[in-house]
């Protein structure tokens, strides 16, 4: 049994982590080395022969992120800035609205609450491409096309269902006795929410925020179809480089991807205990 386990895990682990490993290596290469006909996987300090497995590692690609790649108007950091603005603002909004809504459904008797909750969940299943046409036309008439605000509103809506369901799970777990004790002391509903429930729900809010941020950070369909220039996020920027006339600048793309993906890897490690909840809308608590 132990042998079988190793036989499954070791090859899969190597295969699954290879793209990440390769991404890191590519970001340290020169353009020629990145598309060399020999597999170059040993970084070295000095120049290596073209047919050697060694390559000269440098941080040149990271430095070049500050320069626009041929054919794009801005440098990488401007697109990263767009991703950060859209991601952070929409996440904050989704967590605030989601927490309020989840508290309401958790602690009040709301007529049709079950139907409302399933309506909220069902919005998450909507295919972006299925509603992108009307959204685009709405945005054109409201001049929200190509704006940060337009994406923020969409992402808030997109993440809200996840935020409500995750927060409902977390708030349901907070013992009601805490609130009842506060009422005895004469706290009002809002005071209880603010001073008793919110501190207890803080971890849940942080976890929810991470999942919302990742979803907004990774989104591509809406970001591409609603933006041509002003608020272009990193995924759209990279996808646009594909047809680059000078050949795809792999080391720069690799370096940009490392910068773009690193925070997500960090967040994944931070919320690893809550991953199960996050990907199942809080229905499986693990």
């Amino acid at each position: 049994m132990k042998f079988l386990r190793v036989l499954v895990l070791v090859p899969y682990f190597l295969l699954a982590s290879f793209p990440l490993f390769w991404l890191g290596l590519t970001s340290l290469k020169s353009y020629e080395d990145s598309i060399s006909n020999t597999v170059k996987f040993v970084p070295s300090a000095e120049a290596a022969a073209p047919n050697s497995v060694r390559f000269q590692a440098s941080f040149e690609a990271y430095r070049s992120l500050a320069q626009p790649v041929a054919g794009t108007p801005n440098n990488f950091y401007q697109y990263l800035g767009n991703s950060v603005i859209v991601g952070v603002v929409s996440t904050l909004l989704a967590v605030v609205l989601g927490t309020l809504c989840a508290y309401g459904f958790s602690r009040f008797r709301i007529p049709g609450s079950k139907d409302w909750l399933f309506f909220i969940l069902s919005t998450r299943f909507l295919p972006p491409l299925g509603v992108v046409v009307p959204v685009l036309m709405m945005y054109r008439s409201m001049r929200l096309e190509n704006t940060h605000l337009g994406l923020v509103v969409l992402y808030t809506g997109f993440n809200l269902s996840l935020a409500v369901w995750l927060m409902k799970g977390f708030i349901d777990d907070i013992p009601r006795a805490f609130e009842e004790a506060a009422w005895m002391d004469g706290y009002s509903r809002l005071q209880t929410f603010w001073r008793v429930v919110l501190p207890e729900a803080a971890t849940g809010m942080a976890v929810t925020a991470v999942f919302c941020l990742i979803a907004a950070w990774n989104e591509y369909g809406f970001a591409m179809t609603l933006n041509n220039y002003e608020a272009t996020t990193v995924p759209v920027y990279f996808a646009g480089l594909q047809g680059n006339i000078k050949g795809v600048p792999w080391p720069q793309i690799g370096a940009g991807m490392v910068v773009f993906v690193a925070p997500i890897v960090l967040f994944t490690v931070l919320v690893r205990r809550h991953l199960l909840r996050g990907v199942t809308f809080g229905t499986v608590k693990g």
Binding site: A16, I35, R109, I120, L154, R189, Q242, M257, F260, R272
Partner: protein
């Protein structure tokens, strides 16, 4: 349930109202608008908008690209979900027991599903490239043939599937692990006393007890795979005959041909498929919740 102080309806709707209003505005309205558009000849390049009745739907049904897109999407959903389920479950079985370094291994394995699909599949283009890609160089090193992953019509969909499987197997693994961990130890102890064979234990205890959660995972993945767009865009582009999923087809129709009306009709088709999947999903979690005895 103790209702607490201040039971005014204003307060409770104040809590839930803003979210409900935003969700309605962003979902219900575009949905209805989309259905309306699908009965018109709206064109992104301008022109007079007129109702055209069912014309978009009849056109869609007679388009061979439509049938191809449905076939491609169905094939993609079936292959990716099945492969991810089997692989994910096998990995979960292997990772089930305690072993040194397990938290680290688990975390590394889970990373791909958190990363940006379009960005990571763009990078896969470098790995899969026929001439200088790392995969073919490895295959050549062990004397295997070097297929043209990205340009051979017979292999493009396989390449996209490979990336999807890389990305989403961890999801199946994670949920399978939860299912396995939830099986009470004493059931296995009882089976041991009965001297049940390993295979019998697996077939009569492990698999059936994991099934509800695996069903949940399959439904989540399937509704997601139905919308497949990002990987197709990054690996072959939206207008490739062999990999054009419904979402890619819709993109092509609306944003390259400017036929909004027809695109909206495609949107309705995708919606119906997703709603079917989502309805089953909702029923399923209701059942799971009932089994767990939790209140919704």
């Amino acid at each position: 349930m103790h209702q607490g102080p201040d039971r005014s309806p204003l307060l409770k709707w104040g809590f839930v109202g803003p979210a409900l209003v935003l969700l309605t505005a962003l979902n219900v309205f575009p949905l209805l608008f989309n259905i309306y558009l699908s009965f018109t000849n709206t064109d992104l390049s301008g022109g007079v908008v007129e109702g055209v009745g069912m014309a978009n739907y009849t056109r869609l049904l007679t388009e061979s690209r439509y049938v191809d897109a449905i076939t491609t999407t169905a094939l993609f959903v079936a292959c990716s979900v099945m492969a991810e389920l089997v692989l994910g479950f096998v990995l979960a079985l292997a990772l089930r027991d305690r072993m040194p370094g397990k938290p680290l291994v688990l975390t590394v394995l889970l990373i791909p599903m958190m990363l940006c699909p379009v960005v990571m599949s763009l990078f896969w283009n470098l790995i899969l490239n026929g001439q200088y890609g790392a995969l073919n160089q490895l295959l050549a090193a062990v004397g295997l043939p070097e297929p043209a992953w990205l340009t051979d019509d017979d292999l493009k969909l396989t390449s996209i599937l490979m990336v999807d499987i890389w990305m989403w197997t961890p999801f199946m693994m994670l949920i399978s692990l939860a299912g396995l961990n939830a099986i009470p130890k004493h059931i296995y102890e009882a089976a041991e006393i009965d001297r049940a064979s390993r295979w019998r234990v697996f077939r009569t205890i492990t698999l059936p007890l994991c099934a509800p959660l695996l069903g949940l995972a399959v439904l989540l993945r399937a509704t997601d795979a139905l919308k497949q767009f990002d990987l197709v865009m990054a690996i072959t582009g939206p207008n490739d005959m062999t990999t054009q999923t419904l979402s890619a087809r819709l993109y092509q129709v609306v944003f390259r041909d400017y036929k909004v009306g027809l695109g909206a009709a495609y949107g309705v088709v995708i919606l119906v498929a997703v709603i079917l999947g989502a309805t089953i999903f909702v029923r399923h979690i209701e059942r799971i919740k009932r089994q767990q005895g939790a209140q919704l």
